[in-house]
């Protein structure tokens, strides 16, 4: 077990190294002198000189990377050119909002995706199966920002049940928070539910024809126990691994969902940064999301380990 853990953790180190190079490399895509772009419209020579000095722009590329990486390792992701705040602070301020949205969305995705996948596999070829497959196709084909606009049209404009925007912290007013988050969470969870449904369906179809499921039935267990205890438990491992890959979709989708519902999270941070040409913030957000994604996948592997006793020995 410890061997596995050490090996698994060791594999993420080179990945993180290359991620950092990739993100640092983004800067090189800027045409011309980055200091000229960062200096804004006035192009004050003293500001440009200061930026050259500060960003080590006159040094060779590997040295600049070393300076940048050295800062990152100390938690210094640079500062926003817009309000001179440290990028890390900005990211950490917005992170909880996006995490709440992501968590709610993922819960909705699990609640819809796994049961519908089970129903569709158990009732293969029935109306339920067809309905679940149509739902999955709808889920993966609908752009979530459009679904968001449609939901605002129905639930905020027509029915007046839910607010179209206006995020409230859950610590201030939990009810208002949930009222503002339910639509975005559903919009974000919808597409992932569809993918989870497909994974659950195919994993369940595979285990349902396994010998141990037939044995369980032959023992006279009722169908419910067979499906939920014998089949689902074994189908869960591939669902967890494949489901973890959807966490990236979740983070990507959050950017759009936050834009539609004006939620002040991570996604709004990166989009605003793009328009303010606040490149350090863009890099910081990408770095933090990539690290989060790598960590979440590591956790998924550990969960995989926990539900699969064969791997533990």
């Amino acid at each position: 077990m410890t061997d596995f853990l050490i090996k698994r953790i060791a594999t993420i180190l080179p990945t993180l190294l290359f991620v950092s190079m990739l993100i640092f490399g983004l800067q090189q895509l800027l045409p011309g002198d980055p200091a000229l772009i960062l200096a804004g419209e006035e192009q004050d020579p003293s500001v440009i000189a200061y930026l050259h000095e500060k960003l080590h722009l006159d040094e060779p590329l590997p040295m600049r990377y070393a300076y940048w990486m050295g800062g990152v390792l100390k938690g210094d992701l640079g500062e926003s050119v817009r309000n001179q705040q440290p990028v890390l602070d900005l990211v950490l301020q917005k992170l909880p909002v996006t995490l709440e949205l992501a968590l709610l969305a993922f819960s909705i995705a699990l609640l819809i995706g796994i049961p519908s996948g089970i129903v569709s596999a158990v009732g293969r070829g029935t109306v339920w199966d067809t309905a679940a497959n149509v739902f999955a196709l709808w889920g993966i084909s609908t752009p979530n920002f459009w679904l968001g606009i449609l939901m605002i049209l129905l639930f905020s404009v027509q029915l007046g049940w839910l607010p179209a925007s206006g995020y409230v912290s859950p610590f201030e007013d939990l009810r208002a928070n949930l009222a503002a988050m339910v639509m975005p969470a559903f919009v974000l969870g919808n597409g992932i539910a569809a993918v989870l449904m497909r994974h659950t369906r195919s994993a369940m179809l595979q285990v349902m024809s396994a010998d141990y499921v037939r044995t369980a039935r032959a023992k006279g267990l009722n169908e419910r126990t067979v499906v939920l205890k014998h089949a689902l438990r074994n189908a869960l491992t591939p669902i967890i691994t494949l489901g973890a890959l959807e966490l990236g979709t979740l983070l990507s989708g959050a950017v759009l969902t936050e834009q539609v519902f004006t939620i002040p999270g991570f996604g709004k941070l990166i989009v605003d940064a793009v328009f303010n040409r606040d490149y350090a913030v863009v890099q910081g957000v990408v770095l933090v999301t990539a690290t989060a994604y790598i960590t979440l996948n590591l956790l998924a592997d550990l969960a995989y380990f926990a539900v699969n006793p064969r791997l533990r020995s």
Binding site: L22, L153, G248, V255, Q259, V282
Partner: protein, 291 residues
């Protein structure tokens, strides 16, 4: 000469591609998808003839007018005809889907071939770099690339293409590793073919099927991604019409001009659905193992 005689003497059995085509033709979903795609291609190519009005002509007398006989899909916030903009917008979406995925294929397949075929240190390096790209969520990487490259439709296509490349590197590499150990590759090596010839003539043709399936599904993803970037203001720039940027403006008028949001969104949905249907059908027809 003898080959010709053999070919005509022995009754020919349908090749794998013909069998796959027949299988595909029997799948109603895939055919529906293909028909929708064809319809959108016609709209994109003949937009100038089909669109009833100029997609960028503003009309201050017809601001946010509900659908009517003059404007079937209504008008937008500066009086442009929504139907004409939706029709012209097809070009940006289709082009983004096809061009982005072509970029991914052109980059990803050779890199994946190299990784799988050469192996060793080259493979390790390529695989780690691929992991790094895959660790950055697709759209966030595309946003960052588009941000640094500057907002435009062509940069959006480059950003989406590059962001989607790792999937093709991985797929190609995995397929190559499977094929590499087959007897016919061993045979090709034994008769003295150079490695590049084995890679291109013997390995590549045998991994085309899964690549076609993945490419079709990736077009669906790229269409959504382009719409997403345009929705955020990083794709097609105004006043040129694109479905994503139309939705971006429509969002602000959802309470008094909902038609501005419905049609462009429905178009994205239909086009993406069509590529997904075709992709699923192709997977069943070409690559039965992946079902």
């Amino acid at each position: 000469m003898s080959a010709v005689i053999t070919a005509s003497a022995v009754p020919r059995r349908a090749g794998p591609w013909q069998r796959a085509a027949r299988k595909l033709a029997r799948r109603r979903g895939a055919m529906l998808g293909a028909a929708i795609i064809l319809g959108f291609i016609v709209l994109a190519v003949f937009a100038a003839f089909i669109a009833p009005q100029d997609p960028i002509a503003t009309s201050w007398g017809a601001i946010r007018k509900a659908p009517s006989a003059d404007h079937w899909f209504g008008t937008d916030e500066i009086g442009r005809d929504v139907l004409s903009r939706v029709i012209w917008g097809t070009q940006a979406s289709l082009m983004a889907g096809v061009v982005s995925v072509s970029i991914s294929l052109l980059l990803g397949v050779p890199i994946g071939l190299a990784a799988g075929f050469i192996g060793g240190g080259v493979d390790a390096l390529i695989s780690r770099i691929t992991d790094a790209f895959l660790a950055c969520p697709f759209l966030i990487l595309a946003i960052a690339l588009a941000a640094f490259l500057g907002p435009s439709l062509s940069n959006a296509m480059i950003a989406i293409g590059v962001s989607a490349t790792p999937i093709f590197v991985r797929l190609t590499r995995a397929q190559v590793l499977n094929i590499k150990v087959e007897d016919y590759i061993e045979a090709a090596r034994a008769v003295g073919n150079p490695p590049w010839r084995i890679a291109l003539r013997h390995v590549l043709p045998n991994i085309v099927a899964p690549l076609i399936v993945q490419a079709t599904l990736a077009i669906a993803g790229a269409v959504i991604a382009e719409a997403s970037l345009s929705f955020l203001g990083l794709g097609q720039q105004p006043p040129a019409p694109s479905w994503g940027s139309m939705l971006n403006t429509a969002k602000n008028y959802v309470d008094n001009a909902p038609w501005m949001a419905i049609w462009p969104g429905l178009s994205i949905f239909l086009l993406v659905l069509a590529f997904n249907l075709l992709g699923d059908g192709l997977r069943d027809a070409l690559d039965p193992r992946q079902r």
